[in-house]
């Protein structure tokens, strides 16, 4: 599971009043093994693993094709996600895949793995670790003048691959609704200042827009075309470069939280969204983003 879920466990212990401070750590050293080979072990062992034709990348390609066919999304729109995120990543010193001046053609000409998933429309295999410290309200004020408050949390697991509607991230939608309700958010696109999401594939980011209520169902591609999620536009998504720029699997979601915290603290340097106060961070686990968790974070300033 992603470190973003471990944050949830830390929150539970602090809210229970039994603990005051929690350290949450997540890491993966992808260079020591092939994560896509290992991820096959997360498939159902009774059928899918026995048949042996599917892995996480192939499943994502099926999802991408289904989504693109249903809503008439073009490969260029997918590539545009990579261009946006990787351009942002070029300014992020913590990112893994930094390609300054990346172009649409470069993405569309990158190696094809499973149509339409290409080298640059899927996340790289990264090494990385990440940690956050959580504290109760009382302890937080003792320790820092600049705490970031967790205003909302929501989590939900979807059905398994075969039993779910692959063209929609229903689990993420349920998770986001819970987080928005807890944080009192009615119009996420208007109210949020920045979002950091775990998009392992370019098409996932478009589906995430829809599930998070940034646009209507099937309009993810159109939102991308409008450039509203670029770094200096209405609601910047993944100013850090997102999972497409670095994916140390179980740390990826926790990194989203850290990047969101840096944004609302005004510490994101060249990737800073000016005046960011309210941020969303998203973590996921499982093939085709089966289990999701959403945080709403608010800065003190």
């Amino acid at each position: 599971m992603d470190g973003a879920f471990a944050v949830f466990y830390g929150i539970l212990k602090i809210l229970s009043g039994t603990h005051d401070i929690a350290l949450i750590v997540a890491n993966t050293q992808g260079s020591t093994f092939n994560p896509h080979q290992v991820s096959v072990y997360t498939l159902d062992p009774l059928f899918d693993r026995q048949v042996g034709v599917i892995n996480d990348v192939a499943a994502a390609a099926i999802q991408a094709k289904m989504y693109m066919n249903k809503y008439d999304v073009s490969e260029e729109e997918l590539a545009a996600v990579s261009v946006k995120n990787l351009s942002n990543a070029a300014k992020n010193p913590y990112a893994h895949r930094r390609i300054p001046g990346i172009t649409l053609e470069e993405v569309l000409e990158s190696k094809l793995y499973y149509d339409p998933v290409r080298e640059l429309t899927m996340s790289p295999i990264s090494d990385g670790a990440c940690a956050v410290v959580l504290a109760s309200e009382k302890k937080a004020w003792e320790l820092t003048d600049n705490p970031v408050w967790i205003e909302g949390i929501g989590s939900s697991q979807d059905s398994y691959l075969r039993d779910r509607n692959l063209t929609k991230l229903e689990g993420l939608e349920a998770a986001a609704k819970r987080a928005y309700r807890m944080a009192g958010i009615r119009e996420p696109f208007a109210e949020l200042d920045v979002a950091e999401v775990s998009e392992r594939y370019a098409h996932e980011e478009l589906m995430i827009y829809e599930a998070l209520g940034f646009c209507e169902e099937g309009r993810g591609g159109a939102l991308m075309d409008s450039c509203a999620t670029y770094l200096d536009d209405q609601l910047p998504v993944n100013p850090s470069g997102g999972a497409l720029s670095a994916d140390p699997i179980t740390a990826t979601g926790l990194i989203r939280i850290v990047e969101a915290v840096m944004q609302v603290r005004g510490e994101a340097n060249r990737n800073q969204v000016s005046g960011a106060q309210l941020a969303l961070a998203h973590g996921q686990t499982g093939i085709c983003a089966q289990s999701n968790i959403v945080y709403i974070l608010r800065g003190e300033a």
Partner: protein, 418 residues
């Protein structure tokens, strides 16, 4: 802030060699029994916590592909993996989920299916741990022979435990015959527990010591008859807030809980005979116990604890941990054992269910300790119900290379009184 939490439902599968079910069916068997025991419907469950030993049985992240069989879709789910303590950690996670005020009814599940990867499959996981330690040794330049000795000779868990047992015997003065007594007690208690794996009605210490196979030493002082089986099985509990628990007939209230890790035990394992740390000391268990008792308001555990469920895949561990849970003085647990105090009808029954020595489906084992304590408080333990009023019960688990500990105290009244 803490709010009162209770266990209101328990479900277990028959543990043993379960070739009649697959992992998903096995998990849901326990989950549905727990939901039915709590007289709930699956839609009443707000959140789920689940865990097993990752990679055992050749499967990973089983909650993703089996979730549909126990009502997971649409619900928040957390997976926990902490080695042998997994089940206990999952139960504690569910307790925190409710105590935090975020959820009212939570389903916690622990499971393992060793037979899916054949018998050695279970220990293959442990061999990986051994191998990782070996590479660590290569880096750090520690004497290689010791690592090969325990890793190759008897398998990781039994290897660590044999040294631990010898150390405890040296420290306390108990003998192999006392290990026979614990094993015999466990097997005969298990015969009264319909869900247990190795059942041996009226087993005596001599039955084990003189048995042509079980009497042989696997690694002195542990006989084959002293070693836990590799079981298939799942167990589940329903944890609920006070509002929901009030409608239950006799809920088992969570009075205190704590987890503690002492990573120095990793060194004890590697250096075995010439250990940096004596792995029979288990100081972290005492720390966890003190925290949990303080939270539960228990001042004198020797008197106030009515029954204990201790995680004892090897018999000397029942003795060590009962001392570290402060139920007996240091080095004196075997005397209480000799006097029959820890029998089902004794003064302080330990593992009336038979414990891990008779049933070890790893992810399920520490969960079963909490579940069995709950059953004793609810008065629903059936044939192995202890013949006395159970006010407080303590559930224990150890994991890793004896470095993790979880302790959960359940009682017949809520922690916070109005």
């Amino acid at each position: 802030m803490w709010r009162n939490v209770a266990v209101i439902g328990v479900g277990q599968t028959k543990h043993g060699r379960r070739r009649d079910v697959n992992v998903a069916e096995m998990i849901s068997e326990a989950a549905w029994r727990a939901i039915e025991d709590a007289e709930l419907a699956p839609e009443d469950i707000d959140a789920i916590a689940i865990g097993n030993m990752q990679g055992f049985g050749g499967v990973c992240q089983a909650e993703l592909w089996s979730g549909d069989m126990f009502g997971a879709p649409g619900k928040p789910l957390l997976r926990i993996a902490t080695g042998g303590t997994t089940g206990g950690s999952v139960a504690q996670c569910a307790i925190y989920q409710v105590a935090s005020g975020l959820f009212d009814v939570v389903l916690a599940i622990g499971f393992e299916k060793h037979s899916d990867s054949k018998e050695p499959g279970a220990t293959m996981g442990l061999a990986h741990v051994g191998l990782a330690n070996l590479f660590h040794l290569l880096e750090c330049g520690v004497d290689m022979r010791t690592s090969f000795a325990w890793g190759g000779g008897v398998g990781a868990a039994a290897g660590v435990s044999a040294y631990q047992a010898a150390n405890y015997m040296h420290r306390s003065g108990c003998g192999v015959e006392h290990l026979d007594m614990v094993a015999a007690k466990s097997r005969s208690n298990a015969a009264k527990n319909e869900y247990a794996h190795l059942q041996w009605p009226n087993c005596t210490p001599d039955d084990i010591a003189n048995h042509p196979r079980y009497g042989k030493f696997a690694a002195y002082p542990l006989r084959f008859g002293h070693i836990c089986p590799a079981s298939d099985g799942a167990s589940a509990i329903i944890v609920a807030s006070e509002e929901f628990a009030r409608s239950a007939e006799r809920p088992a209230w969570v009075r205190g809980l704590a987890a503690c890790a002492d990573e120095e035990n990793q060194m004890a394992e590697n250096a075995q005979g010439v250990a940096v740390v004596d792995s029979s000391e288990q100081i972290q268990c005492k720390v966890a116990a003190l925290k949990a008792y303080r939270m539960a308001g228990i001042k004198n555990p020797k008197k106030e604890i009515d029954v204990a469920e201790i995680y004892q895949p090897f018999p000397h561990q029942e003795l060590i941990y009962s001392e570290r849970l402060l139920l007996f003085d240091d080095g004196k647990a075997w005397i209480a054992l000799e006097e029959g105090e820890t029998q089902i009808d004794g003064r302080l029954p330990i593992d009336p269910s038979g414990g891990v020595l008779s049933t070890n489906a790893i992810g399920s084992s520490a969960m079963q300790r909490v579940a069995e304590c709950a059953l004793q408080i609810m008065g629903k333990a059936g044939e192995h119900q202890v013949p006395k009023d159970v006010k407080n019960a303590v559930a224990h688990g150890w994991g890793g290379s004896t470095n993790f500990t979880v302790v959960t105290v359940l009682g017949d009244t809520p922690r916070l009184r109005r």
